[in-house]
């Protein structure tokens, strides 16, 4: 009469692979997009990859004080939000001038 308990064991390696893949995708997006907002989205992906890695290590790695990793992730989320706010404000300011946020066309400053 007992229902079979399905246990899903998550290993540290799997979490880290997801984190690394997400980081790589974010890196690719940040480097390949020409739109400032797109680049920002890539950076946000990288930051989320960082969170996954931190939480994975904090949860599954042998650590005496796992709270550090959790707290770090909370702070990263907060900082990412602040970053997005400043970046979007700047993007709006530039859009008012140039009617574009394409970084190839924002080229007043050149060496």
């Amino acid at each position: 009469m007992h229902s079979p308990v399905l246990t899903l064991v998550l290993h540290l390696e799997e979490v880290l692979i997801v984190g690394a893949a997400l980081f790589a995708i974010g890196l690719y997006v940040a480097l390949s997009k020409r739109n400032a907002i797109g680049i920002l989205m890539g950076i946000e992906l990288m930051l989320n990859a960082v969170n996954i890695t931190f939480l994975g290590f904090a949860r599954m790695s042998v650590s005496e004080d796992p709270i550090q990793g959790h707290v770090f992730a909370v702070f990263v989320i907060t900082v990412a939000a602040a970053e997005a706010a400043v970046a979007l404000a700047l993007a709006v300011a530039i859009y008012k001038h140039r009617e574009t946020v394409n970084i190839d066309q924002i080229d007043l400053l050149r060496w």
Partner: protein, 483 residues
């Protein structure tokens, strides 16, 4: 968890005072609209000097706040360093900011906030605190660089700085998460313990973490190949902010690097030393060579500062107590000389509205004191005797040489000679070229600017002629890092 931790808030009084100063400045700007706006600058500068005096009271303290923020001679040194820099910047921007911005209070508030971040980077002994401090500094700077809301160049410089800075932070964070994973802690001291017993599994993760951390910090101090934002942010920013970027932002990056690498990563010195040595070589060469073909003074100073970062990175690559001392000595010498150059650039921009190198022509006739300060400060940056730059560079190069990095010193001395060429280009305009037609008259330089320039020049000469006092202070400051 909390028992046994030292939660002595009196250690952080200087930072609390700075926060109070921020609130007071913004409040004054809002609630005293009749007050002359230049007064905000003077109040900010006076407050910063007062905080510097309070910080001096912590000399010889050796205590920590909850193991995350340490108050020792190193922290005190950087507290005074950053506060003094910020005070000079506030004074230098007084007239310009009052004329150009409707709400100058926020401008000074952001400068002071970024100073708190910079101090935190030097004082923290834990990765998360260091990261939050770094972002406090960076975010304030992103906003300051793009502070001229209706100027397309300022916005563009700010956006580029922000996107690359955020990108660098993400790299830095990922590196930190890997280091946290293999050592199980974010405290520098525990990271050092964790790294002491490396196992084969962790070798690659550690190397990856170090690469990412070096990349992230390389962006912050503008080392080649992560320097792309520097010239754009420098040119786009308001001139006093350019000076601020070149001193506080860099010095804070080095303060963090010095603590991080000496406290946490010293046990794996061989694993990161070569990376930083390579970056240092590339930075010295590229910074100084590209500076040769600049025509805008702020861009030229950007590349010149990149070259200077290369010299300082050598000290990190060869990290020990001697090079750490030499690095701080050079930072102080560089700060004073660089500020003196920028005071002249700011004063000239205030009066003429121009910032191309060719616009400096005839400065000797139009503003003699500024011209002589410019000459002295540029000679100091190039490292000629009599001026601060000679002593500090000599100490730096010698200490790195003693560690066996002969090839780095060869590059450093060669590129120093190259740098003399572009510094002399500015001086040729100021001293040899005649002023343009109809612009021969003497310029009315404000007393404040003349005073600041002269004071900084006295500092340059003092360090150049009597460096012993600085050596003593710096020795006390770095001793705590290498016990």
């Amino acid at each position: 968890m909390t028992e046994g931790l030292n939660l002595d808030y009196s250690l952080l009084i200087p930072e609390f005072l700075l926060v109070g100063l921020v609130v007071a400045i913004v409040g004054l700007d809002l609630y005293a609209p009749k007050m002359k706006k230049t007064w905000l600058a003077y109040i900010a500068a006076a407050g910063l000097v007062a905080v510097g005096a309070v910080s001096l009271g912590y000399w010889d303290t050796d205590d920590n706040f909850a193991n995350i923020i340490v108050v020792d001679d190193y922290t005190t040194f950087f507290r005074v360093f950053f506060v003094a820099t910020a005070a000079v910047i506030c004074l230098a921007s007084a007239t310009m900011v009052a004329e150009k911005f409707r709400h100058p209070g926020e401008y000074y508030a952001l400068i002071i906030l970024s100073t708190i971040g910079a101090i935190g980077m030097a004082a923290s002994r834990e990765l998360m605190t260091a990261y939050i401090s770094l972002e406090l500094l960076s975010f304030s700077l992103y906003v300051l660089v793009s502070y001229q809301k209706f100027d397309a160049k300022s916005n563009e410089g700010g956006l580029k700085y922000l996107l690359l800075g955020a990108f660098a932070s993400a790299m830095f964070l990922y590196g930190m998460s890997l280091i946290y994973g293999i050592t199980g802690s974010t405290y520098y001291s525990e990271i050092a313990v964790g790294l002491q017993n490396p196992t084969g599994d962790f070798q690659w993760a550690m190397l990856m973490g170090l690469v990412l951390i070096v990349t992230g910090l390389g962006f912050k101090v503008a080392a080649v190949p992560f320097h792309m934002w520097t010239p754009d942010a420098y040119e786009g920013a308001f001139p006093p902010i350019t000076a601020y970027l070149g001193t506080t932002s860099k010095a804070a990056g080095f303060a963090l690097m010095l603590v991080l690498f000496s406290q946490a990563f010293e046990v794996v010195h061989d694993d990161w030393s070569w990376m930083i040595a390579g970056i240092a070589a590339a930075t010295m060469i590229l910074g100084n060579l590209v500076a040769l073909q600049q025509h805008n003074i702020k861009r030229l100073m950007a590349y010149s500062s990149i070259g200077q970062v290369g010299y300082m990175l050598m000290a990190i690559a060869a990290l020990n107590s001697d090079t750490a001392q030499a690095l701080l000595v050079h930072l102080v010498g560089y700060m004073v000389s660089n500020m003196a150059v920028f005071i002249v650039i700011i004063a000239w921009y205030n009066m003429t509205g121009k910032d191309e190198i060719a616009d400096f022509r005839g400065m000797r006739e139009r503003a003699p004191l500024l011209a002589w300060v410019l000459a002295g400060a540029l000679f100091s940056l190039a490292g000629l005797p009599l001026f601060a730059g000679f002593v500090t560079k000599f100490v730096l190069f010698q200490s790195v040489w003693n560690e066996g990095f002969y090839w780095l010193i060869a590059i450093a001395t060669t590129t120093s000679v190259v740098s003399l060429y572009y510094y002399l280009q500015i001086m040729r305009q100021a001293f040899v070229e005649k002023p343009a037609e109809g612009e021969e008259s003497r310029l009315p330089v404000p007393l404040l600017m003349n005073g600041l320039a002269a004071a900084l020049m006295v500092g340059v000469l003092y360090i150049g002629l009597y460096p012993q006092a600085l050596f003593d202070v710096v020795e006390a400051a770095t001793d705590v890092l290498f016990v």
